[in-house]
Symmetry: C2
C-alpha cells in the first residue's frame, strides 16, 4: 500500500476524535483541507485502514462508525443523545467460558449497552 495524502488525512481525522464518526462526517472534515476529495475515497481508505488494523468499524444500528481505539472495549449508547461512550466491561477472559459452554471459538465480542447516560437521566 503506498502513500496518499487522502489516506493520511482520513486516518488523522479518525485519530483526532472520540466521537466515533461516520464516513460522511469524516468526508466533511476532510474537505476542509482537501476540497475535492471524494466520498468514495473516504470509504475506500476507511476500509483499508480497518484491514491494516489502524481503526475499527462499529455498527450503530444500520450505520457504520469508526473508532481509532482498537483494543477490545464496549460501548454505552444513550438513546437520548445518541452518544457512544467507551467503557471496558468485558474482556477476553470470557472467551474460554464461551468456548467451553457453547463449543464456539471467539474472535471478538461486540456489545452495545443501550440506555440513558447521566446527562439525560430524569433522576437517580
Amino acid at each position: 500500500m503506498r502513500f496518499s495524502h487522502q489516506r493520511q488525512k482520513v486516518r488523522e481525522i479518525v485519530y483526532k476524535t472520540n466521537s466515533h464518526p461516520t464516513a460522511d462526517w469524516v468526508f466533511t472534515e476532510a474537505k476542509k483541507s482537501i476540497p475535492n476529495i471524494s466520498l468514495g475515497t473516504v470509504y475506500r481508505n476507511l476500509k483499508q485502514l480497518e484491514k491494516s488494523g489502524y481503526i475499527k468499524t462499529i455498527y450503530d444500528g444500520n450505520i457504520a462508525r469508526y473508532d481509532w481505539k482498537t483494543e477490545p472495549h464496549n460501548h454505552l449508547k444513550c438513546k437520548n443523545c445518541g452518544d457512544l461512550i467507551d467503557i471496558v466491561f468485558l474482556d477476553e477472559s470470557i472467551h474460554p467460558k464461551i468456548k467451553k459452554d457453547f463449543k464456539f471459538n471467539v474472535d471478538k465480542v461486540e456489545m452495545f449497552i443501550i440506555g440513558t447516560c447521566k446527562k439525560h437521566a430524569k433522576h437517580s
Copy 2:
C-alpha cells in the same frame, strides 16, 4: 391496530423460523401465499410487530434481522457460515453494576459474539 391478513402472515413467518430472517426473506416467504404483498407492507408490519412487543430487531452488521424470541438473550455469530445462534450468557443482573460503575441506566444489552461455530472449527 386492526386486523390484516398481511400482518398475520408476516408474524407467522417470523414465528416459524429460528433463522433470524431479514425483511427480504420474510417478503419472499410471504409472497408464496399472498403473491401481491408488497415489500413496504412487510417492513411496515415488522416495525409494528416490534412496537407491539411481538418481535425484536437485531442489527447484524448493517442489515436488520428479526427474532420472535423477545426475552433478553445474546447471539453467537459464525463468521464462516453467517449463522446466528441464540445463547443466554448475560442477563439483567449486570444492570446494577453498570449503573454503579458508569452512572448509566441500562435498558437493554445487545451483544454479538463473533467467531467460529463448532461446524466450522478447523480443530479443537
